[in-house]
């Protein structure tokens, strides 16, 4: 019996009962459709997430935070806690007392992220760069105007910046004495008309930060209405007196140990007092040229990790920002708040992360987040796929039921076929082909339907996201890899083949003489 005859027999048999065959086919189509759609969207999500991250090289970046060392807790004697209480409460209170004695929950900064550390981080194998993220407040001086703004460090590698510029250009280099200004800040500075924005380009601004200091100068000027002003010699004399102050401890008749301790305390206090009273503590970027104006990132851009400073009013080149914050008193002890490390290749991120962790840094990598997200989505989508598979299996029961009925109805036909020479295997093949036929058509229709639906859904989603992001988005949420197309045929054909096996075997085993008597 030829294969074409099997196909012809199957088609002929199925078309004899169009409604029943259609309903059976519909079940297979729905089951296969569910499986295809869930796997397709699963694949899409699995690929879209890293692709979105990769768009801005986010996956090659590692965020490093300075590590804080937890304070050593100070032991508390058991008898220090009085009162009648349960053991659990005693443990809780003892723990709290230890923590309080150690000075609270905060710890000490283990290794401040200063320039020396940055150089060490940049020297790690596979690390391309280590750039601090600087975001602080400062006073912006523009002509005679002064505004309190927040500023953000940026580099020439910030790809999203160019897209968001509404006037001018991006920074020329990371060390250029330039600044980019938010269009809303420009508005507040008096550039209300869009046509006037170009006039702001090339203007000079300056970022200043005042951290106190020069208290003596300020107070004298204030109290005397500016009549008293100390000369440099006068300030040196005052400082000399302040620095001699610890020696006062020796004039007391306290015990030597006590005098020594008091002298040390006065020494530290004198140094602080000298600094506070006499030295001005200010920082300034110097003159910066406004070279560009940018718009604020949209919410969608922010969600897509395409933001370039969401709330910041001013963007300053990295080197300028670094020089600015280095002027902050005590910077050597605190260092940068955050450093972004860029690794040469995505596959080297993990080893670098491990190395940073071994150096006791707190490390955040999007690779890990992506993996976590993929696991989460993967779990959810596989659950949905399992549901689809169950639907497919239920449809297989429909196939079995339909074919059992078909065998019953065609018993006499089976007898006739056997009487004219059909072997058991040929009868079985006829019915198995019917099952496979249903599976093949079901898979093909489901695939075509899912593909059509995905085109519509993709287009719809892209339209919405493009509108929100104000830029074309071409990411495909549904993907149809070759293995999905091949796999759905294999799975559906296997399921329907197994479903048809029992009826086919039953048909093959009917003795011809009994089949011919069947009415």
């Amino acid at each position: 019996m030829k294969f074409s005859d099997l196909i012809r027999f199957a088609f002929h048999s199925l078309t004899q009962h169009k409604l029943r065959s259609s309903l059976t086919l519909l079940g297979v189509i729905l089951g296969a459709f569910l499986v295809i759609v869930t796997i397709s969207i699963g694949q899409g999500v699995q690929e879209v997430i890293p692709r979105l991250m990769r768009r801005n090289d986010q996956l090659r970046q590692i965020r490093v935070d300075p590590n804080w060392e937890r304070k050593q807790l100070v032991a508390v004697a058991e008898e220090a806690l009085v009162g009648v209480m349960s053991d659990e409460r005693r443990v809780r209170l003892t723990e709290a007392t230890k923590r309080r004695n150690a000075g609270g929950n905060s710890g000490d900064l283990r290794e401040p992220l200063n320039d020396q550390r940055l150089a060490e981080l940049a020297a790690i194998e596979h690390v391309e760069s280590a750039v601090p993220t600087i975001a602080m407040n400062a006073e912006l001086r523009f002509r005679d105007q002064s505004l309190n703004v927040n500023y953000f460090s940026t580099t020439t590698e910030n790809r999203n910046l160019a897209r968001s510029l509404v006037a001018g250009r991006s920074i020329a280099s990371n060390a250029a004495a330039e600044v980019l200004m938010n269009e809303s800040l420009a508005y507040n500075l008096g550039f209300q008309n869009e046509a006037d924005l170009d006039q702001l380009l090339g203007a000079k601004v300056r970022l200043n930060a005042d951290f106190g200091g020069a208290y003596l100068d300020n107070m004298l000027a204030s109290k005397s209405n500016g009549l008293i002003q100390l000369s440099t010699d006068d300030k040196q004399n005052v400082e000399k007196v302040i620095r001699s102050f610890p020696a006062v401890a020796e004039l007391t008749n306290l015990p030597a140990e006590c005098r020594k301790l008091i002298k040390h305390i006065l020494l530290v206090s004198a140094e602080s007092l000298s600094s506070t009273l006499l030295q001005p503590q200010r920082a300034s970027t110097g003159d910066l040229t406004v070279v560009g104006l940018y718009r604020r990132s949209t919410e969608v851009e922010h969600q897509l990790h395409e933001y370039f400073g969401h709330h910041e009013m001013v963007l300053v080149p990295d080197e300028i920002a670094r020089a600015f914050v280095r002027q902050i008193p005590g910077f050597d002890k605190t260092g940068y708040g955050q450093v972004i490390i860029r690794v040469d290749e995505e596959r080297n991120v993990r080893p670098v992360v491990e190395q940073l962790r071994s150096r006791k840094y707190r490390v955040h990598s999007l690779v890990e987040i992506v993996e976590h997200l993929q696991r989460q989505y993967g779990l959810m989508l596989w659950s949905m796929t399992a549901l689809g598979t169950v639907a497919l299996l239920i449809s297989a029961l429909g196939v079995t039921n339909t074919m059992l009925m078909s065998v019953l109805e065609r018993t006499r036909e089976i007898g006739i076929m056997k009487a004219v020479g059909a072997r058991d295997g040929q009868i079985q093949a006829i019915f198995l082909t019917e099952g496979v036929f249903v599976g093949f058509v079901g898979a093909a229709v489901a695939l075509a339907g899912a593909w059509g639906a995905s085109k519509f859904a993709n287009s719809w989603i892209q339209q919405i996201v493009s509108k929100e992001a104000n830029q074309p988005v071409d990411d495909q949420l549904f993907l149809f890899p070759w293995w999905l197309i091949a796999g759905i045929f294999v799975v559906t054909l296997t399921v329907t083949l197994v479903a048809a096996w029992l009826p086919a075997r039953r048909a093959a085993r009917i003795p011809p003489v009994i089949a011919l008597r069947h009415d």
Binding site: D5, I416, K418, V420, G421, P511
Partner: protein
């Protein structure tokens, strides 16, 4: 009959050709295979090689008296070549709550080219005997040799090959598949024999032409009269050129004129093709006119075996 006249001489004549053809590998083709509409060498060779049983039964030159030995015991094999069917103490018991003996100690022989009529009342065991000879059922005991082969010990695959290549059956109720056309019904045996679609369609049309039904080839059985349906069933039974033709009351549902035409068709075919036939009928007069031998059954026993 709708006015359709049988063209036996013309139709069946197409099937007869005594000239032997040689296949490329030197295999002799049975004479009666060669005159069907062109069958490719491959199909012919497949047809012959596919089933050993068929090959032995069809390739051996007719009339030779040496013994055919293939399988089975010497006793089973000891059968003259001109004897096609040899039944010895054949019995069939249907086991149920109350066992029913349908056949009991039935022994007879059927020679090649012989047309025998099997008479008997309802329930006498005629159909049971026919089913055993058709390879549709197995005897409970006894031996049934066809062409020297022990039919009673074959498995289902060998039985299927036997039904496909050796025997043709015409049922009383025609047993046509109602959803298929006359042409499709006739070519059904060739479908299971693995014949190419083009070839089998030509052969089925020729067979329908032989029984005078080629104009009705694309009609379904429901669109045909009883006589036409019976002729479709005959065409189907003959399309594989069987060695043994079995017919279960082929004229039972037909008027006397049509019955005569059908019987004449079968008789001519058997004579021209040297095909053995066993025809079950109630009509003794018809049997005497067309059969060369009469077997009579009663209560599962063979009472009479007369020429």
């Amino acid at each position: 009959m709708g006015g359709t006249s049988l063209t036996i001489g013309k139709g069946v004549g197409m099937l007869i050709n005594s000239e032997n053809h040689a296949l490329p590998d030197g295999q002799d083709v049975p004479p009666k295979f060669t005159n069907w509409p062109a069958v490719g060498d491959r199909q012919q060779r497949c047809q012959i090689e596919r089933d050993h049983v068929s090959a032995v039964l069809t390739i051996k030159p007719r009339g030779l008296s040496y013994l055919t030995t293939m399988k089975g015991t010497d006793a089973e094999m000891a059968q003259p070549i001109d004897i096609l069917v040899q039944a010895v103490s054949l019995a069939k018991v249907y086991n149920g709550k109350t066992p029913v003996t349908a056949l009991c100690d039935v022994s007879f022989t059927l020679h090649r080219g012989e047309l025998a009529a099997l008479l008997g009342k309802s329930g006498s065991g005629k159909s049971t005997l026919l089913n055993l000879l058709a390879g549709l059922d197995q005897p409970s005991s006894g031996s049934l040799m066809v062409g020297g082969q022990p039919l009673h010990s074959w498995n289902s695959g060998q039985m299927a090959a036997y039904r496909s290549n050796v025997v043709g059956v015409v049922f009383q109720s025609y047993n046509l598949i109602m959803q298929r056309t006359a042409l499709q019904n006739v070519e059904l045996p060739l479908v299971f024999a693995g014949c190419a679609p083009g070839v089998r369609q030509q052969r089925a049309l020729a067979a329908l032409d032989a029984v005078g039904l080629s104009p009705r080839a694309h009609h379904r059985p429901t669109e045909l009269s009883g006589g036409e349906q019976q002729r479709v069933a005959i065409a189907r039974a003959l399309i594989n050129q069987p060695q043994l033709l079995l017919a279960d009351e082929p004229t039972g549902n037909l008027d006397s004129v049509t019955a005569d035409e059908i019987m004449a068709l079968l008789k001519n075919y058997c004579r021209e093709q040297q095909t053995s036939a066993l025809i079950v009928t109630h009509d003794e007069e018809l049997a005497r006119r067309f059969a060369t031998r009469i077997l009579r059954m009663h209560d599962g026993h063979l009472l009479e075996d007369a020429a």
